[in-house]
């Protein structure tokens, strides 16, 4: 009898493992999921050390004397990527704006006055900004400064005909997108809608990064995590950096580590390498973040674990079928092939015309084109959408238009059971 009970226990346990464990998946799946803020499994001790170093830099709050500014919105990466832990997203209080001026040819340019290295302005008296990001803080005005207001609290420039809002997205698993091959992304491209399904996703090639396929940012406007970091450091924090230049002949800071990593599944491979130095005019010597620290910072984000799936109940399984039937999965494709195996990010890394947008052109992405936002970790991220305009998943779905109009309509026509299952599925991501 006792044996029977023990067997029963074992059976129940096995049944559970079979039914519920997310690890009971296909052999080809990449082993990259983990708790929020943790590294992907399998990093070497040396790599883990760099990952932790990167985390510290991610958390580091810069003071003005350390280089924050002259203009900034945040003083640390974790200011905006904090929820539920560093590397995550942010609530609306960290939203920021992009101010651009539409050109006659339909492109947009930043609405702030241009500034270049050759024409270094006096940061204490001029409002000269490197990007379209509207900064909230600037150098303290003084009685002697005639434009104190402009430098302390940058106003939205009068030339801006488009002011777009952004809500910080989570970074969990984002490094895995660099391990998706160009071929894998291009295989789903259909810029002219040749198959006539109403969906015409295309890649966004980045002219400033050797025409590599952009895969980071709401408009796929960046091809490498390094560029993504260096841009945000400059535009949001006023922290300057030099290129890591890891493909140049110049030895990177840690050749041993690089050799080790290149021999493993977490190769420190970048899609493209931004080469320009970034400088600013706040009186602190550039670069304000050294290359070793930037390298760790990039490494941290390249190796943040992908969000793990929640409990997969029968309702969730039914919801996943609804997700496909409605047409969501046409763009939010469940899996992508990476060099490590399949990842389940629910994106095609293409940009799509959403029929509505923010008017900001980024490289080849037009005002209405947005990257299919990855859905993994979805439940950790209200508010939703690029501008944080949706309180709920439902509101976010209803905001889909253009290429996604059919899927949205199908969603609206779902019966209550299907709708509930679909939401349960989305909440399990």
């Amino acid at each position: 009898m006792r044996l029977l009970l023990v067997l029963l226990g074992a059976f129940v346990a096995l049944l559970y493992v079979t039914l519920y464990s997310p690890s009971s998946s296909a052999v080809n799946d990449a082993d990259v999921a983990g708790a929020f803020g943790e590294p992907i499994p399998g990093l070497s001790p040396a790599a883990l050390q760099d990952f932790e170093g990167g985390r510290q830099t991610f958390l580091r709050r810069f003071t003005r004397s350390e280089g924050a500014g002259p203009h900034f919105n945040a003083t640390s990466c974790a200011s905006c990527h904090e929820d539920p832990v560093e590397g995550g997203s942010s609530q609306r209080y960290r939203d920021f704006f992009l101010a651009v001026e539409t050109q006659q040819d339909g492109t947009t340019k930043k609405a702030y006055e241009d500034c270049t290295v050759d024409n270094a302005p006096d940061a204490q008296t001029q409002l000269c900004l490197p990007s379209a990001v509207v900064p909230h803080y600037g150098p303290y005005g003084t009685i002697a400064s005639p434009v104190a207001a402009a430098v302390e609290h940058a106003p939205t420039p009068a030339a801006a005909d488009v002011v777009a809002r952004r809500n910080a997205p989570p970074l969990f698993g984002v490094g895995l997108f660099r391990l998706v091959s160009d071929e894998e992304i291009l295989s789903r491209e259909d810029p002219t809608d040749a198959d006539g399904d109403g969906i015409s996703g295309r890649v966004n090639r980045i002219s400033t990064e050797d025409n590599a396929i952009g895969r980071f940012g709401f408009k796929c406007q960046t091809a490498s995590i390094e560029a993504f970091n260096r841009g945000a450091l400059q535009n949001q924090m006023g922290i300057t950096t030099d290129s890591l230049d890891l493909v140049s002949t110049e030895a990177p800071r840690n050749q041993n580590l690089l050799d080790e990593l290149l021999g493993t599944k977490t190769a420190f491979a970048q899609i493209a390498v931004p080469k320009d130095r970034i400088v600013d005019f706040d009186g602190v010597p550039d670069p304000e973040l050294s290359r070793p620290l930037l390298s760790d910072l990039v490494f941290f984000q390249e190796n943040l674990a992908a969000p793990a799936r929640g409990i997969i109940s029968s309702s969730v399984r039914r919801g996943e079928a609804v997700f496909g039937a409605v047409g969501c999965a046409d763009c939010h494709v469940p899996s992508l092939q990476t060099s490590l195996g399949l990842i389940y990010a629910f994106t095609d890394l293409l940009i799509h015309d959403m029929g509505t947008g923010d008017g900001v052109v980024m490289e080849q992405a037009t005002g209405n084109e947005f990257r299919t936002q990855p859905l993994w970790g979805l439940c950790q991220h209200p508010p939703f959408l690029h501008d944080g305009s949706a309180d709920t998943v439902r509101a976010a779905i209803l905001a889909h238009d253009g290429e996604a109009a059919d899927a949205r309509n199908a969603y609206q026509n779902l019966g209550p059971d299907d709708s509930k299952d679909l939401h349960r599925f989305l909440e399990s991501l």
């Binding site: 346990a13 303290y140 609290h153 409990i311 305009s389």
Partner: protein, 488 residues
Amino acid sequence: MTRTSTSSWKTTIHLSNLLLLLGIAVLLYHLPFGPARGREQFDEGGPEFIRGDGNNDDRVDISDAIYCLNYVFARGDKPSCLAAADTDDNGEIELTDAIALLGYLFQGSSQPPPPFPVAGPDPTPDLGCREPSLPPLPEVGSLGGPDRVLTEAEALSWRRGRELFDRPTMLSEGLGPIFNGDSCRGCHLDPVLGGAGGLDLNVVRFAYVDGMGTVSQLEGGPAASRLSILSVPRDEMHIDANVVETRQPPTCLGLGLVDRIPDAVLLQNADPDDDDQDGISGRARMVNGRVGRFGHKSGVPTLHDFAADASFNELGLTVDPVHSLFAGGSDTDAVADPELSDQEFLDLAFFLAHLAPPPRVLPPDPVSLDRINQGEVLFGNIGCDSCHLPVLDGADGPVRVYSDFLLHAVANPGRHNVNEPGVDPEEFRTAPFLGLRDTAPYLHDGSAETLDQAILLGHYGEAETARNAYAALSLLEKSQIQAFLLSL
């Protein structure tokens, strides 16, 4: 013989069942779960639930027990419907909920209390189904904890207030139309919830200064908002603004102590005409019949006013004006007013009123301690304590906050500052030292990265004598004063 055998058999079953149960629990605990997550969106239906359905999948089964164990032991996320996860309906999510559920499922124990097995509303509304989990009560007197022992009802109010302080406000709950933050925590988070905010969370005040140096307020001023809801533009500075003053979010830790200082105690230190001719002429700012004490210019008289003012001006949340003359009773977003219910506002105010002042932590080694003590003596000797009064008589005994809460003309003459009605640009409240060690950068605008800078950059006018005395100290003496201040 037979009887013995039967009895033994029953015992065996009982033990086996328990072992089985324990085995399953241990096994499940060690399984490689990802964090089980999920926030109910409540797109369809109201807060109905099935007791025991912790993972909210409309079925009561072993996965609910796992979800609960995962939450309690393995950093799993909060159940979206707490009342459902509270299988034994005792108001707490804990191990016993999983045990009770496993007992029901596998041992034939009694079924969970209603609503069960059919979904329904909670007959014993305690944890709620919509509400996120209430945080546990921190230790009395700890950093971010309550300031005294609370009764059960008070503790519940405090925890609800803390949850409200922490929770991001959604558009559907009334955020905006213009706002700087979407939660109190958004700006008051250093080093714990309820604390101060960093340089990148300053709020903005603007004004106009003419050629004669006269500062005046502009239309729409003095505050500019950082953000707005999408249907309205953010509230930018007036185009003619040429004076900007950013203001740091101050700590909320210990504000209840400040609130409970009687007016008479503050007024006895006022000397508006400098009758004693010591060069220091602090004056009380009377607001609605009480001495103002909150805000960098003492513009807010009570803690209720502080909570109502910040709810409206920083988050855009309306409160019934019955609670405070500072409450915004209505706004222009689409959400019905008041957006904070009476209960919510009172919970928030109670939490703030009983948020402990940061405990002082002194180093154990005699050398450091001696440096701190020397610094404290110097602090008095050079006259810092003329305004930064170490102790005031509060309603509950002595209050050690190093402030007189009076206005003094101290601003740096090289910097712009805005005026407020009846308060000159150069006048500021003596900043209290509540957890000073955790509130860098310093001064109202965060322009001082170090205490040395704070003393030298922010103390002119009435404070200039003390400032110059500090500047004349040796490096050792300065470091002693700084060590003392950093011990607060």
